[in-house]
């Protein structure tokens, strides 16, 4: 089985800090047993002294990295024009070059007259030229997602042009103006194939399923669905937050499996599900039509509830399970629930901690608190297209002071 190095590295860190789940432990074990090299690495990396030494070595590498800078404006001039290639000898294959400080020499040979890399002996200067290319402010999120096809291939949808993305069992997948659509081709062969669309922090996306149902996927969320709906029901799975406009089909109920904890059975049309794992509740809010909400592993007394428009079902999530029954709120603040889909933040009566969770997902930042989180409730709305600095400035006006260190926001007492 193919593992990603980053994933195994994360599992090792989780193991060291005693935070492995059973499934993660099993995956790590499998990786460890896959080769003798893996086993050796595993045993070495669990020793504190090894990790400390390696971390020191990494810091040395970072110091060396500051000497190794790359001026963007000069990279721009390094193209490989056809005519230049014709008039100069092919440079990179020449063996003797290898021994020399290659980058500069090759470029001189190429006759392009530009250095790609240069090593700057004065550190502070190198440092500033390195930082010059980094944005000072953090931009808001935008449209984008990653699509995992049935065969495991992944497609990044951020900046692809309009057109056919893939043929999947029973559907053709096309991208049109930043939205992905599945159009049934009529021929479903064999078993249903599943695709997954995921948004990272700082991205959102709109998707149209093969039955015409439209799904708005908020940041740090994902949805798994068949490429063609066959049989007696339409089933999808989600994590994070999504808004659905379900196409009517009385013969095929639409079911949403939320975090494997709650199931929403859709009898009518539009609703929003918010199920981020770091939120206290999974909540399903109905805008139109009717949905039935049931917990998978709730208390025996938990009955599924059927929501009317304007109602919100809340299920507390604790650890691995949905707990303590389904609470129904009668007049949910629809404007607040739907703010994200409408391109806005709505902070009416939202605690500071919850506001910060939203910002973490939209700006791809981390928020920490210098001391306890100030116990303030905010009010107000703003659009989601502002930069982080502008937003933090607004928070400052409301009496919440923060400072930005890299991609970490520190909330000051």
């Amino acid at each position: 089985m193919k593992f990603q190095a980053t994933d195994i590295a994360t599992l090792l860190l989780k193991k060291i800090s005693g935070q492995l789940t059973a499934a993660e432990a099993a995956a790590l074990e499998e990786w460890k047993n896959a080769s003798a090299a893996n086993r050796r690495e595993y045993e070495a990396l669990l020793q504190l002294t090894v990790v400390k030494d390696e971390l020191k070595r990494y810091r040395d590498a970072q110091a060396a990295g500051k000497r190794l800078t790359i001026p963007t404006e000069e990279v721009a001039s390094i193209t490989i024009p056809e005519d230049t290639q014709d008039t100069t000898s092919p440079p990179t294959r020449t063996p003797f070059l290898r021994r020399y400080w290659a980058a500069a020499s090759i470029l001189l040979l190429l006759g392009l007259g530009a250095y790609l890399f240069y090593r700057d002996s004065s550190r502070p200067q190198a440092l500033t030229s390195d930082n010059k290319h980094l944005p000072k402010d953090i931009l808001p999120g935008r449209d984008g997602a990653i699509l995992t096809l049935a065969d495991g291939r992944q497609v990044v949808l951020d900046s692809l042009g309009n057109g056919l993305i893939a043929m999947q069992s029973g559907s053709q997948v096309t991208l049109q103006d930043g939205q992905l659509a599945y159009d049934p081709t009529g021929s479903v062969s064999g078993e249903a194939a599943y695709n997954t669309m995921s948004t990272p922090k700082g991205r959102q996306f709109i998707l149209q399923l093969p039955d015409g149902t439209r799904v708005w996927l908020n940041a740090a969320s994902s949805i798994r669905y068949p490429t063609a709906f066959v049989g007696s029901e339409r089933k999808v799975e989600i994590l994070g937050e999504a808004y659905f406009e379900v196409a009517k089909n009385a013969n095929m109920p639409f079911r949403v499996n939320v975090n494997n904890r709650v199931e929403v059975e859709v009898l009518g049309t539009s609703f929003n599900v918010n199920a981020y794992e770091n939120e206290a509740n999974i909540s399903a809010t109905l805008l139109e039509g009717s949905v039935k909400v049931a917990a998978f592993q709730g208390m025996p007394s938990d009955r599924p509830v059927t929501l009317k428009p304007g109602q919100q079902a809340q299920i507390m999530q604790v650890g691995q399970k949905a707990r303590s029954g389904i609470k129904v709120i009668n007049d949910a603040d629809i404007d607040k629930v739907m703010a994200w889909k409408n391109g806005a933040f709505n902070f009416t009566d939202v605690s500071l901690k919850d506001v910060m969770k939203q910002l973490e997902r939209w700006y791809d930042i981390e928020v920490i608190y210098e001391s306890a989180a100030p116990n303030v409730e905010l009010t107000g709305k703003m659009t989601r297209d502002v930069t982080l600095n502008e937003l933090l400035k607004n928070l400052g006006d409301l009496g919440v002071h923060c400072k930005l260190e890299g991609r970490t926001v520190v909330v000051l007492p």
Binding site: M1, F3, A5, T6, D7, A9, L11, K14, A22, A23, A26, A27, S35, A36, A37, N38, L45, V51, K52, L55, K56, Y58, A61, A64, G65, R67, L68, I70, A76, I78, T79, I80, T92, R98, R99, W101, A102, A103, L116, F117, D130, L134, G144, I146, Q154, V156, S159, T196, S198, T199, P200, K201, A220, I223, R224, G240, E370, E405, T408, V410
Partner: protein
């Protein structure tokens, strides 16, 4: 279900293949430390390592048009660094024992390379977790773990109360734990299914 892939990087790789030099500069910034760190495993002197890392980036930029899939690019950089470093080492110390350490005879190079990548990524992540701490916690963490200073010594260096140092050190470790905890891992799917099935089996009995 996968979420939060090494996502930016995939997009970056796509742009580089299309010749976007800003993207290339970002790739350089984001990978150079890891590549230097990796290269140092094979070579003793930093200038040597800096050379081969520069060569690897240049080689990538010049052959960007031939690049196809996305993860391919990171591997390309690491493999280039590895090969060049070993070449150079061979030239420096012919048939030396060191080579045996790098490439144990029984192990295929592919296996060894994969294991090495895990070390690079783990140390990189850990350094990143430490870097994301607020400055004062970071300083205490570095003094405690890199310089092996005791809380008393740190207190003297930073002119703080030793109790403050102890509590801030604890807080720093807690923040790193939290950072690690929130880092998502994409487990291979069928494995998850097995685990779920097993859990389900036990829960229902």
């Amino acid at each position: 279900m996968p979420i939060n892939q090494p996502y930016e990087e995939k997009e970056l790789f796509r742009l580089i293949a299309a010749g976007d030099e800003q993207a290339f500069a970002r790739l350089h910034t984001s990978y150079k430390d890891r590549l230097l760190y990796y290269g140092k495993r094979f070579l003793a002197e930093w200038p040597e390592v800096e050379d081969i890392v520069s060569e690897a980036f240049l080689k990538l930029w010049l052959s960007r048009a031939d690049m196809q899939s996305d993860s391919h690019l990171a591997n390309f950089l690491y493999r280039t660094v590895r090969h060049r470093a070993i070449d150079r080492q061979r030239a420096l110390e012919r048939r030396d024992q060191l080579l045996e350490d790098i490439k144990p005879a029984k192990e295929t190079e592919g296996n060894q390379f994969e294991a090495e990548m895990v070390r690079v990524e783990m140390v990189h992540l850990l350094a990143h977790a430490v870097d994301s701490l607020p400055d004062k916690y970071k300083r205490i963490f570095e003094l405690a773990y890199h310089a092996d200073r005791s809380p008393g010594e740190i207190a003297r260096i930073l002119q703080l109360n030793p109790d403050t140092v102890r509590s801030q050190k604890r807080r720093a470790i807690e923040m790193i734990r939290q950072w690690v905890k929130e880092k998502r891992v994409v487990l291979p799917l069928f494995l998850c299914c097995c685990i779920l099935a097993i859990c389900h089996f036990f829960c229902s009995h």
